[in-house]
Amino acid sequence: MTCPKCDGGTQVLTSLDQPTITLVGPPNVGKSSLFNQLTKARAKTANVTGTTVEIDRGKLRFKSRTTPGAALHVNVIDLPGTYSLTPVSQDEQISVAHIKSCDGLLLLVIDAAALAGGLYLLGLIGQWQSNVVVVLSKNDTLKNPVDPATLQDLLGIPVFDVNCRIGREKNSGLDKLKAYLATAVSPEKAISPAHFTGPLSPATKCQSQDHDATDLHEPTAHCETDLTQADAVFGWAGDIIAALGEPPLVKSDISDRLDRFLLKPYIGLPVFFALLWGMFGLATSVAAPLMTWADKFVNGPVASGVSTVLGWLHLADGPFEAFLLDGVLAGVATVCAFVPLMALIFLAIKILEDSGFMARFAFLADRIMRRFGLDGRAVLPIIVAFGCNLPALGATKTLPNAQQRLLTGLVIPLTSCPARLTVFTLLATVFFPQNAGLVVFGMYLLSALLVVLVAWILHLTYFRNVGEQRLIIVLPPYQLPLVRNVLTSVGLRVKQFLRGVTVIIVGVLSVVWLLLAIPTTSGHSFGEVPVSDSVYGQISQGVAPVFEPAGFGDWRFASSLITGFVAKEVAVGALAQGYAVSEPEDITQPEELGVQMQATLERTSGGHPEAAALAFMVFVLIYTPCLATLAQQWRTIGGRWTSIALVAQLALAWGLAVAVFQAVRLW
């Protein structure tokens, strides 16, 4: 395995010049909640370079003991959960590499109800690190809570009982932990070590090089000797648990009774689907007016404010003002408009995760999804994608490993979002007035078929191992999500989204504005030119012949597709702009625009406008959903795969559009 300290590909973990506390532990033990409590949610999330693995970094602040009024800052890193030091996923691989090589203090969070697993991890870590402190979480869920003092005596390192869920409240145990960490930070900013000696003899750091951290394929556990070692470490953990007295007993809770119903597929699946549709339906309907408001706010008061300031600077009424308002601010408005939707979808996802529903749903859906190479958990982002592709890509974070995230991230743009619906409705109303509903439904059906088909083909080719992985999920108890934890997580995700996409969206929209502003014929000035005489219009005319085999080789349709690349919502507006007619108020009554479109496709399709309209809709369905999605895809699965996906979608869109046109024309 590549060590993060030795590998430039994992710089996110190593560019730290201050003392570092690293949170480690198995998944779902409350690590992230503790991280939020320690850092007060002032965290930065970044992908480890070349991977889809995300690492949260924050700072813990202490008052200096030597310099009054000064503060000491300690870096806090939250690593992905891992059960052992034999990684089976890229996420675990990153964690294990860091555990083996890092300096500073390891804060190992272990679930009191699953003490053996936590102690097992501690025993393995002891081979590589001695500076370890144990945080015992979920002790309150036991009938016979573990005594941290006894465990501390047995292990010889500090043990803190912290209720990570209630965090900052009194009696959570967090204060004691923070007090210890404060005293552990010396004036020289080095963390004084705790000395853990585990059951295994120490290993030499930074010596294993058996896997590249940036390799897409998941690593596999391959050492049979690990089984013998695991047995020895579990034996040691068993001795510790025996010395603690009676084994931990979990309080019976409502989970038993709920699971009796919800884990029956014929009850559970409909309930979970209804829950998903309800939550995401609610999120999108609540988001719609907020999105409109955000857009109007940026284009209204904010734009006016910018104009006023430019007036003071004597820069108003010129190309610079137009560029700033119609290019840069338009990009800012697009980003701001998406924020409420992203926040609400992230909120719904977090509630599903924290309540324990997500793991059950994944289990029930797994059998179906696995046939297409997808994990049961992929159901969630795919359903979200039919509402909007953008948060769906964010939701792939819930998937258990890098390959699953990548595969799902590649098929999500094929789901038909409501933005595409405006184009479908316009075309269907104009060209299939008697069967408009059926045609639009057909597009959604085609979208679902493409998701399944493309996932299946990818599963049979590049992602052969994905569907073969075994399903072993720890089902957490049902619980009410904590408002603070949920809001903190949503805030972090939204910040992450803004950081990831703002520059790309604002940049591209500014470039589009420039292309629209530059005239290519005489008689027009910069910024005051009809589309047809702008660089943008020329590019559209250059692209149009590409679509001749699909029956819509006209520059206005090409221009609409190029604009649709930025956002499908404005594709209809671009068509209207191309024909120099008003954009219809009611998309089902296009009138002048409809007449013009019919005339154009009649000409370009050789008398088969319906076939050309269908081909155009198919192209709109398949090619890049929008710039914001592309930016999010870039952030989620990286530039290389986003570029591959972009080209593949364009090729598939063109190929199917041509096939549909030629087939329908003959028929």
Binding site: S84, V250, P476
Partner: protein
């Protein structure tokens, strides 16, 4: 018998895991060790098993459940 053959409410003792080393190790790390006692709490049709083991609840697909050898005789000492 295999875990996949157990019914809801039955308890069993793990006798062995017939999986390749990587999956075997992962199950072991999750607490699926020789002589550990598990209980099938749900056995949904077409969807594997849900069990409790060492205070935790796990969902396993049928394929994995059919690789875990168990006995319902909790007093059994060693079969391997």
């Amino acid at each position: 018998m295999k875990l996949a053959q157990m019914s809801r409410g039955q308890s069993g003792k793990i006798l062995g895991i017939e999986l390749e080393p990587a999956s075997h190790l992962r199950l072991m790390e999750l607490g699926f060790r020789h002589s550990s006692i598990l209980k099938v709490v749900e056995a949904p049709r077409f969807a594997g098993k849900v069990i409790t083991l060492s205070g935790q609840r796990f969902a396993l697909d049928s394929k994995t459940a059919s690789c875990i050898e168990v006995t319902t005789d909790l007093s059994a000492t060693d079969v391997n």
